[in-house]
């Protein structure tokens, strides 16, 4: 059989693709406003990766230490190594307190202080009064904050009766005769049936893409599908050279050991037992920004002071923290250490090494959540009908390095805001569905995977994925330079060539995971290219992008965002926003902790 240009069609006021914290917050708002929406997720909603977030969500509630949104804004801009857009960061930090109280109201079981208020812990890169004392800004539900938020949002969506399409895979965006986004092709994973969901408002909330690196803290479903869809539709991705390597992944495996561990007093030590962060960040030590700590660990290991037989990790020591604090505030970390390392952190140090954690780049948007793309004259214009939020989007509040606790904030702030943008548009112009959609590109793509392998070929989708992950880890990891990235780019070409000829062997329709992996791999490979091409171009070190051959930040040439287009791997650039509305601009200056 082959696919033809005909699929069943369903119509909606708006579609939310992705049921993580971002999509869920949006869907809640849209349903509450009475719109007919569908929330599409390739896994059952509470299996989305927001569930894994541990440490907490930032808001200047001031429950533990004095705090102001202005300080939070300053820390976020500094943390971003000045690449974050200051208007967007200001907006997020101003919304934070209200949005966190709203989460509490939705039922999130935050940990509490003796006076009954939400417990807030110390996290890296947070200060009082523009860079002075450590602030306690991260609102926590033990070390399961993501789980607590995702489940509460799901529960509130159940209360309002949101329509879910669980275990449906979004394949590609569809355009109408005028080239405007007007629908999406989805596949029901249960029976392999495809259908068109048509709507003038499509919101991408598909999460991160950490699976592009071998060692990562991400779920296996984090394959950047939304990013692939946007590239194939001809729109750019922004700042894809910036990937956060979390300093403390379980060595050799990748699972996250939350920054909360250092927030509660945990110390990093090398093989000599030295608390080495004192060297790299004399003032805030273990609570420096993540890029700084990740580099410090990599340097310790590179210079031979790593632990264990392979000298390839460092230790995270919490044995001095009282037992009851560990049980009450870090129960999940204890569980992970026991399950995956067979150790009890109350007694033995945890073995850690940097691991790919978070994608700072993504689909470029404005504060209203609209996807933006340059027009012929290079002016940024909203893409009609297309929106993006959460980790798949780049608004950009994280710039070159995200602060811990700011992503959970980002997803709910822009989740709500973008729903309001769509709500307004629908009030002005109710949804109409009389458009013809161009299906040729997606049908060609589906048909490509129907080819059967010739006997001689034994390459597989899973093997290509593994090789891609290795290429990215070696070529574009914590430290980068021209020759290794150039080599990675060459290897990507080979991977791309294999992707074009590889065939799947399973042609069944029910839960065909091989076909799903093939669609996902197409997205991962485009993300690999976007990353390496953007990283090669940026000849400076900024935030998480550290180049051995260009060790300094270079604001004269590089205080700008990268935009990557799939066509011929072209790049353009756009300026960083330095004009917050209610606060003076934070001037770029050297970043020390």
């Amino acid at each position: 059989m082959t696919f033809t240009n005909s699929f069943p069609i369903e119509t909606f006021d708006a579609l939310v693709i992705g049921a993580g914290g971002a999509g869920m917050r949006s869907a809640l708002q849209l349903t509450e406003h009475g719109h007919k929406i569908a929330m599409i997720s390739k896994v059952f909603p509470t299996r989305s990766h927001t569930v894994a977030a541990q440490g907490g969500v930032n808001a200047a509630l001031g429950n533990v230490t004095p705090d102001k949104w202005e300080w939070h804004m300053y820390d976020t801009i500094k943390g971003s190594d000045f690449l974050g857009d200051q208007d967007a960061i200001e907006f997020m930090c101003r919304e934070a307190s209200e949005i966190v109280r709203e989460l509490e109201h939705f039922g999130v079981p935050f940990s509490r202080l003796d006076n009954g208020k939400i417990y807030q812990r110390a996290f890296g890169g947070q200060s009082q009064n523009y860079g002075e004392e450590q602030a306690h800004r991260t609102c926590a539900a033990a070390d399961r904050t993501g789980h607590a938020i995702l489940h509460s949002l799901y529960q509130q969506n159940l209360r309002l009766g949101t329509t879910f399409y669980d275990e449906f895979y979004a394949v590609d965006l569809l355009k109408n005769q005028d080239g405007e986004i007007n629908g999406v092709l989805v596949m029901n994973i249960h029976d392999g049936e495809y259908k068109i969901l048509q709507s003038p408002h499509i919101l991408l909330a598909t999460g991160g893409a950490g699976q592009v690196f071998r060692n990562n803290t991400n779920a296996s479903i984090n394959t950047g599908d939304g990013l692939g869809m946007v590239l194939r539709a001809g729109y750019p991705l922004q700042d894809m050279e910036f990937w956060q390597f979390h300093p403390t992944g379980v060595a050799g495996k990748g699972m996250l050991i939350s920054e909360a561990v250092r927030g509660e007093g945990g110390k990093l030590r090398n093989a000599l037992g030295e608390a080495f962060m004192e060297k790299y960040a004399p003032r805030v030590k273990d609570l420096a920004s993540r890029d700084v700590v990740a580099r410090a660990i990599a340097i310790e290991v590179n210079e031979g002071r790593g632990c264990g037989p392979g000298k390839d990790y460092v230790q995270l020591d919490i044995s001095h923290i009282p037992n009851d604090i560990i049980t009450e505030r870090l129960p999940g970390i204890r569980e992970i250490s026991q399950t995956f390392l067979g150790i009890d952190p109350v007694k033995d140090p945890i073995h850690v090494y940097p691991t790919c954690h978070y994608m700072m780049g993504g689909i470029p948007t404005n504060i209203a959540g609209q996807v933006v793309s340059p027009d012929k004259d290079g002016k940024q214009q909203p893409v009609k009908g297309l929106y993006a939020i959460g980790e798949c989007a780049c608004v950009s509040v994280h710039g070159a390095n995200r602060l811990g606790g700011n992503s959970l904030l980002d997803i709910v702030v822009f989740g709500r805001k973008t729903a309001l943008t769509i709500d307004e548009a629908l009030k002005k112009t109710p949804a109409q569905h009389n458009q013809t959609l161009n299906l040729t590109p997606v049908v060609n793509r589906l048909n490509r995977w129907l080819t059967k392998a010739e006997d001689s070929s034994n390459d597989t989708v899973l093997q290509i994925k593994k090789d891609l992950q290795l290429v990215m880890e070696k070529g574009c990891g914590v430290f980068r330079d021209q020759p290794t990235m150039q080599k990675a780019l060459k290897e990507l070409n080979a991977i791309q060539a294999r992707l074009e000829t590889v065939c799947i062997s399973d042609f069944s329709n029910v839960f065909n995971l091989e076909r799903l992996s093939a669609y996902e791999l197409e997205n991962l490979v485009t993300i690999g290219y976007a990353t390496v091409v953007s990283a090669l171009a940026r000849t400076e070190s900024r935030g998480a992008h550290s180049r051995v051959d260009y060790t300094e930040r270079n604001d004269d040439e590089w205080l700008k965002h990268t935009l990557y287009f799939q066509d011929n791997h072209t790049l353009t650039f756009k300026p960083v926003n330095l004009s917050p509305k209610h606060h003076a601009m934070v001037k770029p200056k050297p970043r020390v902790y």
Partner: protein
Amino acid sequence: MKFIISRYNPETDQEPFDQTFELDDALLSADSMLLDALHLLREQDPSIAYRSSCQEGVCGSDGMNVNGKNRLSCVTSLSELGQTITLRPLPGLPIIKDLIIDMTLFYKQYKAVKPYLETIPFNIEHEHLQSPEERAKLDGSYECIMCGCCSTSCPSFWWNPDQFAGPAALLAAKRFVVDSRDIKHIDRLKELDSPTQTFRCRHIQNCTEACPKGLIPSRAIQELKSIMVKSL
């Protein structure tokens, strides 16, 4: 290492059958998890179907019956399992394919207990106050990851999955009954006070034994019963 996996593809099979796979021990290490082994088996046979996502025991995707016990494959160490490992889908619910079950009824039961906080209107100025002691009452129930290991090991649920809420849903129900912020306390208890709900539980405790998160749904159900006796 030998794996006996229950296979079923509704497009081609009348009923489930067992298929045996061998995995070279050299591919595994002392700390490999069952999910690692499944991923390796999928390289041999890409058609093997099982759910998984987070790979660290927090998303609840990969509940399955392992050597007769309901578990999550991602946090089950191979070293605990012996040389022959038998994998079946979680029992009691329809099979979609291989190790993947249709959890519709399980989710329906969850939804039926109204598992959402109902409270006074939102005040943007401050959060609800809740003392650490009141908050501590939620420990042991909010952590549920809806994997279904408990309900699919409960005989009362097997017999009436369309009527009996089952341990996971009752655990969720209890979480809202004891949340100091909730204002529907009594309504909730009244709805749960029925022979097909809380009182269908015969306290067999399979659920508690099955929970991979160490939660104790059977105790929560007992507590619900005693709260009902006191409050209704």
